[in-house]
Symmetry: C2
Subunit: 215 residues, 2 copies
DNA sequence: CGGTAAGCTGACGGCATGACAGGACAAGTT
DNA sequence: AACTTGTCCTGTCATGCCGTCAGCTTACCG
């Protein structure tokens, strides 16, 4: 099914090898969250994992390759984000609740993976297709069901039909991603972290339904 | 007034020196837009500028230092973004126009400086205060006047007072920044680049005024 | 024309990269 | 216990970039 884990030179990795490999990934992850991406060196990761640079190169072609690995793992995890929107109702009083839970869940996910997402975001912005794809996987977990919700509301005549559902959903997800990545910016605008959710949620509701949230 | 340009070892740069310095900055800028940030090396920049690495280190402490220089230049330029919002009306038919011009102007600015902004965004996300400050300067050029506009509308009773004007303005600017940086994502959602403006503008209008744009 | 400061680079030690061959190790076989 | 086999790790090496310095060249000025 899933091809076995292999070393760069084609050998199949056994139990011990996979452990080392995993430890390297863990250390890299740790490294990414403590130092600037540009300064992450193979030798530091190897040292932290109690092994040598040569070992690192047995399992990964370079730092980027290992980062991609971590990112793909995270992308799988992003599947759980779907639940935040799929099957939820935007009608009546439950609408604002749906919106709040979406904002909350999304911010939590981003915060949990912020270091790796930073690198993914950069890679995607730089035009790297592999990183772009991973970023889309994460965003789509929310954007796709969100676009569906908008479509449904439009069909029922409860939302502005002149807007492209995909564009609206995409914009809202972009907003959430940006807000999550740069929470500090909001702090400097005088918006406390705990006020982020109550302020973003109405905007999401507004975007999806096109009308003010009911009190 | 503005302290003269100085080399790393304290000498004042003369005409010729400033030219070399500028050429290095130009080449670095070029480099940033063609290769991943992580792979930009001093030696490549120097080679492109027809000089030696040692010369680079005369004018800049490292790559990051030079990038900061470029970014600060751009931040000054961002002052023009203020005109997009300051003194503009959100009432009646002019509201949607204001919104469209804002989206258009902002996207254009971002596109023009996308390479350097990518790095600034990364630096800010990584917690580097210098990059964070520069990013805030750019965003504030739009966010500050936008927050003022929201405040005014709230005072006139034309907008929802339960929302924090700073939060709303910040969120909208974040949205624009994210959309600008990841236009490709929208393409992959089936939203063409030329459809970006007509789809983002109503959202901005909606966020600022809290109501649907008039036809 | 000589003095002074600016401007540039060759050269160097130091460190990261990336490849390889060979030794250590675990587990099963005879 | 000796042997075999395949996995796993590392010492070592060539290469290339980093960042610094001494020293050479160039420009300007009295």
């Amino acid at each position: 099914m899933t091809g076995q884990v292999r070393t760069v030179d084609g050998r199949v990795a056994g139990r011990r090898g996979q452990e080392t490999r995993q430890k390297l990934l863990d250390c890299l992850r740790e490294m990414l969250s403590t130092s600037p991406y540009r300064d992450v060196k193979v030798i530091d990761v190897a040292r932290m994992a109690g092994t040598s640079p040569a070992t690192f190169y047995q399992y990964f072609p370079d730092v980027e390759g290992a980062v991609l690995e971590i990112a793909e793992e995270m992308a799988k995890d992003a599947d759980t984000l779907k639940e935040l929107v799929a099957g939820k109702s935007w009608a009546g009083k439950s609408g604002p609740t749906t919106s709040e839970e979406l904002v909350d869940g999304f911010l939590a996910f981003w915060r949990k993976n912020d270091a790796i997402l930073r690198v993914v975001t950069l890679g995607a912005a730089e035009g790297d297709k592999r990183f772009f794809k991973i970023r889309m996987t994460v965003l789509n977990a929310v954007a796709k069901p969100l676009a569906e919700a908008v479509k449904e509301l439009q069909a029922k005549g409860q939302a502005d039909k002149s807007l492209d559902p995909n564009a609206v959903a995409g914009a809202l997800v972009s907003l959430l991603a940006s807000a999550a990545e740069h929470q500090k910016a909001f702090t400097s605008w005088g918006v406390k972290v705990k006020d982020l959710k109550p302020n973003l949620a109405p905007l999401v509701y507004l975007g999806v339904t096109g009308k003010k949230p009911p009190k």
